[in-house]
């Protein structure tokens, strides 16, 4: 029984990749947890941009949606969404983009559109959102995904975003592109073997000559992350009542 979960290790590993002062384009879920963990620990001046239009956001709890009021009320500015994608992202003002997906391939291509054929899918997924342009325009793209042979696939069912990944952070370790662009396993977490990582990958995974160890979460990282998640759960559990609205 370890003192932390593999999800916590993955979130901490992602947070550590963010340098103080970087401008981050943040997606909901794990990326949002990682970015705010970094901001609350080693990177207090991280600039968080959410695609809903909030720039320089410092949420006290993690948002459930990409446009929760918490994001607007703690932002330095709130701008129209088209400007987020044109003035900030397309113009090259974003250092780090964070993505997740339902499928990833060996060059970091991502699918968040369909499982099965596009015209007659077995599973219709939510779709592209901001991903194709984040993948294209952020200076550096980080992908966070739990590993399994169903999600780390030889062949994507649909290419929603092109592969241009600096690091693929999983719940077992970290993969980074080699000289030809194919992902190579470069780090594994404490207590994980290379064979475990290979077994949870749908293509024959290349492994770096030297695998770097990853330090387990520090007590401070764990405490800050768990506090954040406890606050978040409490904030989203309460039903809203509209008594007095319009009165």
């Amino acid at each position: 029984m370890s003192a932390y979960t593999s999800d916590e290790m993955m979130t901490v590993a992602a947070a550590r990749r963010l340098r103080n002062g970087a401008v981050c384009f943040v997606g909901i879920g794990l990326p949002s947890a990682a970015c705010n963990l970094a901001r609350l620990t080693h990177a207090p001046d991280l600039v968080l941009i959410y695609e809903s239009g909030t720039v320089g956001t410092r949420p006290h709890v993690l948002p459930l949606s990409i446009g929760d009021g918490e994001l607007a009320e703690t932002a330095r500015s709130v701008i129209p969404l088209p400007e987020i994608f044109t003035h900030y992202l397309q113009r090259g003002r974003v250092d780090v983009g964070f993505l997740g997906a339902a499928q990833v391939d060996r060059v970091g291509g991502l699918n968040s559109t369909v499982i099965g054929p596009y015209a007659a899918p077995q599973v219709r997924l939510p779709g592209a959102g901001g991903a194709p342009e984040i993948a294209a325009h952020a200076r550096e793209v980080l992908v966070v995904m739990k590993q399994s042979t169903r999600t780390f696939v030889e062949r994507l069912d649909f290419r929603t975003s092109a592969g241009r990944v600096r690091a693929l952070i999983t719940d077992l370790g970290v993969m980074e592109p080699g000289a030809d662009g194919e992902l190579v396993l470069t780090q594994v977490y404490a207590g994980v073997t290379v064979e475990q990582v290979r077994a949870a990958c749908g293509w024959p995974l290349r492994v770096a000559a030297r695998i770097a160890p990853v330090a387990p979460p520090t007590p401070e990282e764990l405490a800050v992350l768990r506090d954040l998640q406890t606050r978040t759960r409490a904030a989203h559990a309460a039903r809203v009542r509209l008594d007095g609205v319009g009165a």
Binding site: R124, R239, G246
Partner: protein, 284 residues
């Protein structure tokens, strides 16, 4: 020209007719739920629904058979999972087939902006290296920059027959002020042939700061005062997003039976939005 101040029932009956292209915008914030429910109550059919994020309101419109087609860029329940009615329409054609015109957020923003500017198409540096263009060749085409030779992506303008927005406030001349997260509401409003707005309150004076996002009353066809009109989405300064309801929707919409029963009770079975809010426990 001052817009018509109408009960929501009359505003929808006057402007939303079968077969039209309708955009209910608002990015997570200020989603016009009351207007969407009224469209369902009036049993509109064959609509082409436009929204960047279909959200729960289009899950409901699609599941109730109001839509023929959907133009969108991200169709999930934010932070929760699938929109089960949207999935059922695409995967199983229930309650009928749904044509889709699918984009990225950046693409939808460009399409609205082109419509708002009166141009036939918009341009972005996007969709590169993806399967999106091949899947939707009718609406995503390459174009060469006449100055640099760079290959860019062209997308046709969106000009909804009707755009519907929810806002915090309008004054008695019909000027409308939206504040907080606005998404692509500004572009969707100015791209529309007809703009219908629901508001939390009508006031004597807006008191908006000089650079605020205010839509002039002469651009608005109809205004309806609907307190709580964005619920379970939210209106900054009035009420927060009901994240617990968004989480509960996953179970409600998961099966056709539970969805249909919920809609019969809470939407078809209520006369207006105030009654809807009472029935879901938001008031009273």
């Amino acid at each position: 020209m001052i817009p018509a101040f109408l009960p929501l029932r009359d505003a929808i009956a006057a402007h939303v007719r079968d077969g039209l292209t309708v955009a209910l915008e608002g990015f997570t914030h200020l989603i016009p739920f009351a207007a969407g429910h009224e469209i369902i109550r009036q049993r509109r059919r064959d609509l082409t629904l436009v929204r960047m994020t279909p959200d729960l309101i289009y899950d409901q419109l699609i599941g109730m058979g109001c839509a023929r087609a959907l133009v969108f860029s991200w169709g999930g329940n934010p932070g929760v999972g699938s929109l089960h009615r949207l999935r059922d329409a695409i995967e199983q054609q229930w309650p009928g087939p749904l044509a889709i015109d699918e984009h990225s957020h950046a693409g939808m923003a460009v399409r609205y902006a082109a419509g708002a500017a009166g141009l036939p198409f918009g341009i972005l540096r996007g969709y590169t290296g993806t399967d999106l263009a091949a899947a939707n060749a009718a609406h995503i085409r390459p174009i060469t920059c006449p100055f640099t030779g760079e290959t860019l992506t062209a997308l046709p303008a969106l000009t909804p027959d009707v755009t519907i927005l929810h806002a915090q406030r309008a004054d008695r001349e019909g000027n409308v002020w939206l504040r907080g997260i606005v998404g692509a509401s500004r572009e969707a409003a100015m791209a529309a042939r007809t703009l219908v707005v629901t508001v939390e309150e009508v006031v004597d004076a807006l008191d908006a700061p000089m650079n605020a996002f205010v839509i002039p009353g002469w651009q608005v066809a109809a205004i309806s005062a609907v307190p709580g009109g964005a619920y379970p989405s939210y209106a900054l300064g009035h009420y927060p997003r009901d994240n617990a309801f968004y989480q509960a929707w996953d179970g409600i919409a998961r099966t056709r039976e539970s969805f249909t029963a919920w809609m019969a009770t809470h939407v078809l079975g209520t006369a207006d939005h105030a009654a809807f809010l009472r029935s879901v426990g938001g008031t009273g």
